[in-house]
């Protein structure tokens, strides 16, 4: 009976890990545009005042391109590398800790966007 309980717990842990992995991947994808918004708002707060054709606009474009490419790479690394890590360390505290950290980063991005 105890063995059955352990097996059931392991199955639920597996389901939870998969849901967390898929959820963090989806949130991470959405977070790219949120980071972009936040970064451009900070940029605009400092420099964005001189019109559409000014150097500020070109600066913002360069910043956007840099952020999009960097975060796209980071997101791929997170999905593939994270998936592999969770698969290898399944059920271990290290895996849950990585989930917690990933969620923390993503939640932070969304909360930050509420302020900036």
């Amino acid at each position: 009976m105890e063995e059955n309980g352990l097996r059931s717990s392991r199955i639920w842990s597996g389901v939870l890990a998969f849901v967390l992995w898929a959820g963090t991947a989806a949130l991470g994808f959405v977070a790219i545009s949120t980071v972009l918004d936040t970064a451009l708002r900070v940029y605009a707060a400092f420099w964005g005042d001189y019109g559409f054709y000014g150097s500020d606009y070109r600066g913002a474009l360069a910043l956007r391109n840099f952020i999009v490419f960097s975060l796209a790479g980071l997101w791929l690394a997170m999905v593939v590398g994270g998936g592999e890590y969770h698969y290898k360390k399944f059920g271990q505290p290290k895996s849950w800790r990585l989930f917690a950290r990933t969620i923390a980063v993503e939640v932070s991005i969304f909360v930050l966007a509420l302020f900036i």
Binding site: E2, L6, S9, R41, A45, A100, A104, V105, S108, V111
Partner: protein, 689 residues
């Protein structure tokens, strides 16, 4: 049993994981806050022109010291009418740079910004010393740098950051080595240095270290009090004797400005809005810390002392620099609470999340406050250069307030610090007659009066007598970087100051435009001098008044058109209201809904307000005046005027005809520039057509 085991297992994972997540969140927020601090500091440091009224006097004092002059003159009976408000250490730190590279704000700003960073580092070291908690130390330092007051003030060439760095360094030394003789001597030197950089630093840090030492070694505490008091007093007596009483006059007498409780309340409201969580932490710490937190005897007196110092922000002319010690104290408290909660995962997670939310709010306030302010200050680069050139070509002493630094940059000594001498004049400690005579004799080729959009600060910087003398003997010729440039009038009374109407004009002037007029697509914005609801607005000619029921601050008057006989024309008077709470400044004789009320030329309609258009923003005191053609049946063109006020496009072909050019009616000068708001001097045309 299995369930219990599972719950424990999950609890053991979730608690630290939550703390871990909260830590990441806070560190992410703080990292961005530090980036904002650095970006702001770099932008400010490398700006060539003055960023604050208080920068120029300090560089000016460094120039005088480098030339071997006394900066603490005991009386102001002859020019220069300047005051050295602070003890000399910061000015002394500028002297080598002024001597080597000439006057500039760069060195002073770099010193201040580095001292801001150093203060953050010392705060972190204090927390680290008693808690050994690196996370708490990092939170303390970065939280301090995230506070908008710190961001805004750190890169200014002002005394405050150097004083704070000395003061926090002194706190650290005594927190680290409380009982050694060497520690005591170093700390005393630092605390005295802080006091001799800015005198208000003689309260919070000395009080904190005294109480801290008292709890460790009472004799050491008494020794500290004796040495700090003795050294401070000894230096004061020496400096005062060397300057023949000038040190006391400049540093004490000239600093006792009037206290305004409303100013204190306004800053308290701003503070509650900007740092609510830190204030709650500070309050909680005062009550809870004595039994729980090891460092309470250092932090609580520091917090109390810093709060008392902050209360002096109610003095007229004071600014957010009075809050810097309080910011340091609250950062220390936050760090202490984070350190105290180290063994309590859930509590620590909650604290860290609350701090992250506070940092989010701080960043928002920083971007809307200091960053936006700096951007506005840097934006009129062309206008600043023009102002610089004007000052450069001025032959003789120039009077200036906010941009007095233009003189300093050109290696010219300041003739006056208007705010300081105005306060002395108000207190009856300075006789302004000689200066007034010089103004009336038009001895100054230029006078620069800065006209902040959000508040008439010039009313605190110039006495009513000075403003009156300037208005009657000088005329505004340019408006550059929010500064009105006055030059001597050619002929006595040639401008509209003394006139009710321009010569030959069919209508009288509706109001005063002491600071000039803006021409915005044939509408005139008269910029009067004074506080809200004090500058009268009059009917330009006989007619019938209308005030729509939804007009807070507007009225319009229908007249027989003096330039197009047989036709009707309307004069429109707008923005006679407060932009904040819709308080109307129209006189009660004309309530909303008035229609066809007869008025006589020169009849009082109301007073200038600060309303900006229909959205209710606030701007300089002004009257929005327009001359509007009547509809065919003689009625007021409501729809068209609404569009004009809202800045919406007019029907094709109408833009040239609506509203009418007011200059033939009033006789005032007109703009040749169409489509772009243009500032014009408040002047009559030589020949009204």
């Amino acid at each position: 049993m299995i369930m219990n085991r599972q719950m424990k297992k999950w609890g053991a994972i979730v608690g630290p994981s939550l703390e871990d997540g909260a830590k990441i969140m806070l560190l992410m927020f703080l990292s961005l806050a530090v980036v904002i601090f650095l970006a702001h500091a770099l932008m400010a440091i490398f700006h060539h022109y003055p960023l604050d009224y208080g920068e120029a006097p300090l560089v000016d004092q460094a120039m005088r010291l480098a030339a071997g002059q006394n900066i603490y003159r005991p009386d102001l009976s002859s020019p220069p009418y300047t005051i050295s408000n602070y003890p000399p250490l910061y000015v002394l730190s500028l002297v080598p740079f002024v001597g080597l590279f000439g006057p500039s704000f760069l060195a002073g700003r770099v010193i201040s910004a580095l001292c801001g960073l150093a203060s953050a580092a010392f705060l972190a070291l204090i927390v680290r010393t008693y808690s050994q908690d690196r996370m708490a130390a990092a939170v303390t330092a970065t939280l301090f740098l995230a506070i908008p007051y710190v961001v805004g003030w750190s890169p200014l060439a002002r005394v405050d950051m150097l004083a704070l760095a000395f003061s926090t360094a002194g706190l650290y030394v005594l927190a680290r080595w409380p009982t050694t003789r060497r520690g005591l001597l170093i700390a005393v030197s630092l605390l005295v240095a802080a006091i001799y950089t800015r005198q208000s630093y003689g309260l919070a840090a000395p009080l904190a270290v005294f109480v801290w030492l008292w709890t460790h070694d009472r004799q050491q505490a008494l020794r500290l009090a004796a040495i700090v008091g003795g050294t401070g007093l000894g230096l004061f007596l020496i400096l005062n004797a060397l300057t023949r009483g000038g040190f006391f006059f400049n540093v004490v007498t000239a600093n006792v400005n009037e206290f305004d409780i409303e100013r204190l309340e306004r800053h308290w409201r701003d503070l509650r809005k900007a740092i609510p969580i830190l204030l709650i932490f500070g309050g909680a710490f005062l009550f809870l810390a004595p039994r729980r937190v090891k460092s309470w005897s250092l932090l609580i007196p520091y917090l109390i002392g810093a709060t008392l110092s902050a209360l002096t922000i109610g003095k007229i002319g004071s600014n957010v620099n009075y809050l810097l010690e309080l910011c340091a104290a609250l950062s220390l408290v936050a760090g202490a609470l984070v350190a105290w909660s180290r063994q309590r995962h859930w509590l620590r997670a909650v604290l860290l999340i609350l701090l992250a939310l506070q940092v989010g709010q701080l960043m928002q306030a920083t971007l809307k406050g200091p960053v936006e302010g700096l951007k506005w200050r840097l934006k009129p680069a062309g206008a600043l250069k023009d102002l610089d050139r004007l000052v450069e070509t001025a032959d003789g002493p120039v009077l200036a307030d906010e941009f007095a630094g233009m003189l300093t940059l050109q290696n010219r000594p300041l003739y006056i610090q208007p705010f300081e001498v105005t306060q002395l004049a108000n207190a009856g400690l300075w006789d302004q007659d000689d200066l007034l005579t010089s103004i009336r004799n038009r001895e100054f080729p230029l006078i620069l009066i800065h006209h902040f959009m959000d508040w008439p600060v010039y009313k605190e910087r110039w006495t009513p007598e000075m403003l009156s003398a300037i208005k009657h003997n000088y005329e505004p010729i340019r408006f550059l970087a929010e500064t009105v440039v006055f030059q001597p009038r050619g002929v006595e009374g040639s401008g509209p100051t003394d006139l009710e109407a321009c010569p030959g004009a069919p209508w009288r002037l509706p109001t005063r435009g002491d600071f000039g007029m803006w021409w915005i697509s044939k509408r005139l914005i008269f910029m009067g001098e004074g506080y809200e609801n004090t500058v009268p607005v009059y009917a330009v000619a006989d007619g019938l008044l209308k005030r729509r029921s939804d007009w807070d601050g507007n009225v319009a008057i229908q007249h027989d058109d003096p330039l197009r006989p047989g036709e009707k024309v309307w004069s429109f008077y707008g923005d006679m209201a407060n932009g904040q709470d819709d308080e109307s400044h129209v006189v009660p004789d004309f309530p909303p809904g008035s229609e066809g009320v007869p008025v006589r030329r020169g009849q009082l309609l109301g007073y200038q307000g600060r309303r900006l258009g229909v959205d209710g923003g606030r701007i300089w005191l002004h009257l929005h005046f327009a001359v509007v053609p009547a509809l065919e049946n003689g009625s007021f063109p409501d729809e068209m005027m609404e569009r004009v006020i809202k800045g919406e496009p007019l029907p094709k072909g109408m833009a040239l005809e609506f509203p009418l050019d007011p200059s033939p009616y009033l006789g005032t000068v007109r703009s040749q520039v169409m489509g772009i708001p243009t500032w014009l001097p408040w002047r009559c045309q030589e020949n009204v057509p």
